[in-house]
Symmetry: C2
Subunit: 188 residues, 2 copies
Amino acid sequence: MTGQGRSSVDLLLAKSVKELAEDRPIEKITIKEITDKAGVIRPTFYNHFQDKYELLEWIIMTELLEPIKPMLWNGMATQAFILLFSTIEKDKRFYTKACRLEGQNSFESIAKECIKNVLLDVLTDKATGKRGMHPWVSPELIAEYHAQSLSFLVLRWMRTGMNVSVQEMADAYDYMIRHSIEDILKDI
Amino acid sequence: MTGQGRSSVDLLLAKSVKELAEDRPIEKITIKEITDKAGVIRPTFYNHFQDKYELLEWIIMTELLEPIKPMLWNGMATQAFILLFSTIEKDKRFYTKACRLEGQNSFESIAKECIKNVLLDVLTDKATGKRGMHPWVSPELIAEYHAQSLSFLVLRWMRTGMNVSVQEMADAYDYMIRHSIEDILKDI
DNA sequence: AGAGATTGAATATTTAAAAATTCAGTCTCT
DNA sequence: AGAGACTGAATTTTTAAATATTCAATCTCT
């Protein structure tokens, strides 16, 4: 057998769950199936992740968010989101199914949490010492609000089959987060 | 028949559920309790509403949203939201409890749906024939997005005990819906 | 619109089956 | 030899199915 690097198991497990998720709902996928497909036994799974949802979190963090973090930091947010949407589009078959996961550990809540943490990281890192506009507009609120906004648009995109181009998504996102409902009603 | 006082029963039922909700979770309140408190019998409830959740919807629509609809229409969105937040604050005891309702018919999803419908009404009413922007930025998307944003901030306010003033809420809302994460990261 | 009686749909409870998880021990690589 | 990663049997925890119970919804009549 192989005997390669250490994170190769992470990748194998991620690959397995992504392939399995294309066929049936993530709720119904067991750890056993994931490890069987990955060619390891069940307990090995637990050396790497607590449960299915932590694996999902790992995928979102590693494949989608960590690559865009430096871009956000460097003020290239628009390019960051274009890269994010592109990466999702490359895995369209997986994400259009995965987004259906509902309940306590819904795909939406996992994604929202991951986005929030990344934004909070970047914000607090940049804002050491500085204040916030209104007393109630804390970094936490900003991170949660924009995690909410972004995940809303991305999840809507996924749920409707991702039939809109990456550029259109980026334009729509840019438009939505910059216009109040007051602006829009006046523009009409 | 009479054709008269339907709405007085509506108000009685609304008053009952609001009082009951101050003591215990809405999930646990039975129709029987609501009607007992209102001084009518159970079947009467079903002459007015399909279930508890439609009653809640009625409260949100009648007490919170219908009053601000004309203000939105007339381009006074900021004043509309101040009125909305004020009305909620007057019923603080109810809303800080009601917002806990989770699950299929969560308070959040009912509120979101109501807000979406109101915004969609105003938008489509004003925009007959017009529109361009991006192909994907439809009135539905705008209504859903802003229902999402508004309900996020309001629900957060309710869940944290509504310890922030109406004016601060209005300022925070105005700030959030007008600034992209890119703007915020650059401003820091 | 309101009261009583009947029907039907959720809800809770129990039990059985199938996973998930733990843990002591094994293997591999340095 | 020692650290890190993997195995497989035994235990615990979840999940699922079937039954019993409660409550919601409808119908008829006033």
